[in-house]
């Protein structure tokens, strides 16, 4: 063997399989039982359903022959939520009183207090991620996360402001910066994470999507004005094409974002490559849109029929249909935005240099996180899985 091939052999990364072995049917059964239960329990079942969903996804994700384990419990989430509500109560009260004072100076200035809650939301999502990571294990070893939720929230707010000012152009660099912060504070045992993908790279592959989004928005809002047709008629005409363009752009964007993110993530020397194609998620999101559209049309048809019915049975039927719509939406959302994406994304992955994650020792963590962050996120209406 000459030096050249030796070097090539050393450079060629050893690669390991990661597969998702969960069946769509199994996940469907989970939701068909869980989503109606959420209604019956006026929402309290959400903590149990979220936990079951995570257990399902984690335990069917198999890296090099061993599954990930989700160690969180629904009870932790419930307690986290109650603590969050207790802590938020005086904050809500203070923000109301402050709002009154600000209003006296300038009308509607209290809307600025919303900024505080956006920042708090960022803090909550950071802490929620920390909780989820800490409850994730592989081969009897936990993932962990340190860093400060406050520091993250400040960064996120700064970047968001920049992104708004730049009409979304700064988005790739915002995501790179925030992912860097998150990943550099992520650990698997003693192995520290990093994020090496760049905003430049994301922008290079995604700028067409930005142009597409800008064109779609401009057409929708400016089109009727320019062509002189009435606003209502114009929007009615443009509604379907706009929806189609939105789904198209969103699906491409998500596929690109996933691939970019996955290939940027590293834990120690362990890296990933993804074969995710640009259109990999398109079928998924189109199915979601189609099913949602069909159910809304069906509901509207029934609603029209209800108008012809006697009052009381009509109202009862209306309420039932409304509940059915919620259940259905919850099922569709969790299927097409969570499980299908998870399956497609995991199956596109190859992990490299996994030998660097052999015999990793436990990292001591002085304060294991509670589910308080998730509780905050939940009470601020953050939809997460």
């Amino acid at each position: 063997m000459n030096d050249m091939t030796m070097e090539a052999a050393q450079r060629a990364p050893e690669s390991s399989d990661i597969v998702f072995t969960g069946h769509d049917d199994e996940f469907r059964d989970l939701l068909f039982k869980g989503a109606p239960l959420e209604i019956v329990t006026v929402g309290f079942y959400r903590f149990w359903l979220a936990t079951k969903i995570r257990q399902h996804l984690w335990s069917h994700t198999i890296l090099d022959g061993d599954a990930f384990a989700y160690l969180g419990t629904a009870r932790e989430l419930l307690i986290g939520f109650f603590f969050a509500m207790a802590i938020l109560a005086p904050i809500y009260l203070a923000s109301f009183l402050l709002g009154v004072e600000v209003e006296r100076e300038k009308s509607f200035a209290s809307l600025l207090i919303g900024v505080f809650f956006v920042a708090f939301w960022q803090f909550a999502t950071y802490r929620a991620r920390r909780y989820r990571l800490h409850r994730t294990a592989w081969r009897g070893l936990r993932f962990q996360m340190d860093g400060s939720g406050l520091s993250y929230a400040l960064r996120a707010m700064g970047w968001e402001l920049l992104t708004i000012i730049s009409l979304g152009l700064a988005l790739p660099w915002m995501q790179a910066a925030l992912e860097r912060y998150k990943m550099r504070h992520t650990y698997y045992g003693e192995l520290r994470g990093d994020f090496v993908a760049t905003g430049d790279n994301f922008f290079k592959h995604g700028w067409r999507l930005w142009v597409g989004a800008a064109l779609t928005t401009t057409t929708f809002f400016a089109g009727p004005v320019l062509t002189g047709i009435t606003k209502e008629a114009g929007w009615l005409l443009l509604m379907l094409p706009t929806l189609a363009a939105t789904v198209f752009i969103y699906a491409r964007y998500k596929a690109l974002q996933w691939k970019w993110w996955l290939e940027g993530v590293c834990i120690g020397d362990v890296r990933a490559t993804s074969t995710l194609e640009r259109h990999a998620l398109s079928g998924n999101y189109w199915t979601f849109t189609g099913l949602l559209f069909a159910s809304v049309v069906a509901a509207l048809t029934v609603a029209l029929a209800i108008g012809l019915m006697p009052k009381i049975p009509g109202i009862i039927l209306g309420v039932l249909i409304y509940l059915a719509l919620i259940v259905q939406y919850s099922i569709l959302w969790r299927t097409y935005f969570v499980q299908r994406v998870w399956r497609i994304v995991v199956n596109s992955l190859t992990i490299h240099n996994l030998h660097a994650a052999q015999e990793v020792a436990m990292r001591l963590d002085a304060s294991p996180p509670t589910a308080l962050g998730e509780g905050f996120a939940d009470s601020l209406d953050v939809v997460g899985f």
Partner: protein
């Protein structure tokens, strides 16, 4: 006699996957290449959730994530035979049965709805009088700024009209015995409406003056608004709304679209509450008008003219005012006209044209 079985072992300290031999002697010995890595007491061994076909075991006292994975059926049966407390693991039962969750959720809902229905109005009634008038004024100032921006209307004050309004306001306040001084202001907006703000400000919109056929109609509406001021309805509303929003926030959370159910519940509740306060304000108005010796019925007539017929409307349960027909009937019953009108005919004309 000891038997040997195969298993996979993770010690929970290092992520190394070890193929081990289990030796079922006095203790459960986990051995690799002849060396005992760990020895578990049979009473400490617990089964934890695992993929199908796999028996996953942990032991009390071992590292938190240390576990054994056993795939072989014979081995699984042997373990079941040896370990008496296999099924005692808290993690297996930590999340309770579905029936339990449903039951506790139902109890929680009953308690929350009970709090919202009885507790919140009670708390609002008790807390509102404790709020100092200065705070009430601050709240009113904040709302006033918003009102001015929203209605985008100018404040109207034609000299004669303003004089008439001042006279009307003075007579009303004298008769009603308000707990704080009120100021009435006319705004040039086409909407037929009038409303009071906490702290004593009352706005009457030009649209309502236009629709009025007699001064007694306007007098009644203003007396009704004074009723809201007297009863601290705004404060009670603010306190109740905050409490209700918080309590309902405990339900549903992120169930997609569940927020809408909460919204409907809230609307029904506040509508019911507000029907009550409106009726109280009507009663206050009727009382005040009786003291002035003026009829209460015209106010009811004006309301009916503004809202149109409501009786046969859909979803009357959602109305936040009592139905105009019912209010008219009640006010007519309280009708006691014994004195001359408050304003002269000329003054009334000037008031109607206050915005011109």
């Amino acid at each position: 006699m000891t038997a040997k079985f195969e298993a996979i072992y993770f010690d929970g300290l290092v992520n190394k996957k070890r193929r081990v031999t289990l030796v079922l002697g006095p203790t459960l010995d986990i051995c690799e290449d002849g060396a005992v890595l760990s020895a578990w007491s049979y009473v400490d061994v617990r089964r934890i959730p695992a993929p199908p076909d796999v028996m996953r075991l942990r032991a009390i006292g071992a590292a938190q994530l240390a576990h054994l994975d056993i795939r072989d059926g014979d081995t699984q049966r042997e373990i079941e035979r040896h370990c008496p407390k296999l099924a005692d693991d808290a993690a297996l039962h930590a999340d309770g049965s579905t029936l339990n969750i449903v039951g506790w959720s139902f109890a929680a809902t009953v308690s929350i709805v009970g709090l919202v229905w009885f507790g919140v109005p009670f708390a609002a009634d008790r807390l509102a009088p404790l709020v100092p008038v200065a705070w009430e004024k601050r709240l009113g100032d904040a709302a006033e700024g918003q009102v001015r921006e929203l209605f985008d209307g100018k404040s109207c004050a034609s000299p004669k009209g303003a004089a008439a309004l001042a006279k009307l306001s003075q007579r009303l306040q004298d008769a009603s015995g308000l707990r704080l001084p009120a100021t009435i202001e006319a705004i040039s907006s086409k909407t037929p409406n009038a409303f009071a703000l906490p702290g004593g400000k009352v706005f009457i919109l030009a649209g309502l003056l236009e629709k009025a056929q007699s001064q007694d109609e306007i007098l009644g509406v203003l007396a009704h608004e004074f009723g809201h001021l007297q009863n601290r309805d705004h404060l009670r509303r603010v306190i109740a709304d905050g409490g209700i929003a918080y309590l309902f926030g405990l339900l549903f959370g992120d169930v997609t679209g569940g927020g809408a159910i909460v919204f409907v519940g809230k609307t029904l509740l506040t509508a019911a509450n507000s029907r009550e306060t409106e009726a109280q304000a009507d009663a206050f108005a009727a009382q005040t008008l009786a003291r002035l010796g003026r009829p209460a019925k015209p106010m009811g007539e004006l309301l009916l003219r503004v809202t149109g017929k409501e009786k046969d409307g859909f979803l009357t349960i959602l109305h936040d005012h009592p139905l105009s027909e019912d209010r008219l009937a009640k006010l007519s019953a309280a009708d006691k006209a014994t004195a001359e009108p408050v304003l002269t005919a000329d003054e009334w004309k000037a008031l109607q044209k206050i915005c011109d």
